[in-house]
Symmetry: C2
Subunit: 160 residues, 2 copies
């Protein structure tokens, strides 16, 4: 029995467990420094740019779809970017990710957004099968670039 | 002589020219349906999630860095996502993209954001050289997934 609903105040710790489970599966748990308070502060801000659905299996927190408002210059419209789709290890392969993705599509429709998008690791065959089922277009050959921390400061201050 | 500054109301048409030049270089001009009004509406909204820097060469509009507020669950903080870095063909190879990227880093610092990130086509060697110069971390092997329009509606309404 899978139930999906928006996250509520006080559930940041449960969400953090899921975010950390995804980071562990993807091999970057050492870079995971967010706290439950960080996540709740962003989610329950006055004009939030983020949102989150939680999934429960038999009443137990099992997974999340954490997203943020994004924008496409191709369409000139707001869209949803799915940042983290995570299912706790003990609840995997039960349809939890599928249920979350369906409700996220519903959220996009309610907002009048034309699309949702996300990134997948190319090795993640399980995710690929689910995403193919949704009817998503797939584009290979992208490189992710991140300029952070000291490198960001150095570049901002570099002589022209 | 390159000058970079935030876009002002009334400059949506100049911006659209740049956005369309990038779409043309990347081969998806046929999917480009945004209007100048769409872009200005988002940029000059009450609580905007997007921003844009314009670059001028000898006073002429030459390029743009169109970004949106994003969020990383790894850090639990807002960051900048660079959606479009575009230079009009006649102004390429003059340091315009470099100047835009430097000012965008300054914008992130002013906002107290820890990072900016963006996606690059893996074939884009010119962009790769500039991005390496910034000190950005590079991650290969990502797949972009987009669920849009009728496919989004069908998936949202599909039986569980």
């Amino acid at each position: 029995m899978i139930e999906v609903r928006p996250i509520r105040p006080g559930e940041g710790a449960a969400l953090l467990t899921m975010v950390r489970a995804l980071a562990e599966s993807h091999g970057f748990l050492d870079k995971q420094t967010a706290t439950a308070e960080d996540l709740e502060r962003a989610l329950f801000a006055e004009h939030p740019i983020v949102g989150c659905l939680l999934a429960f299996v038999d009443g137990k927190p099992a997974g999340c779809a954490f997203w943020h408002r994004s924008f496409t210059t191709a369409r000139g419209r707001e869209v949803i970017y799915l940042e983290d789709l995570s299912v706790l290890p003990e609840f995997r392969r039960k349809g939890v990710a599928r249920a979350l993705l369906k409700d996220l599509a519903g959220e996009a429709k309610r907002r009048g957004y034309p699309s949702i998008y996300w990134l997948m690791k190319s090795w993640n065959e399980g995710a690929r099968a689910l995403y193919a089922e949704t009817g998503a277009e797939i584009e290979e050959g992208l490189v992710f670039c991140r300029l952070a921390d000291e490198a960001l400061t150095l570049w901002a201050e570099k002589a022209p």
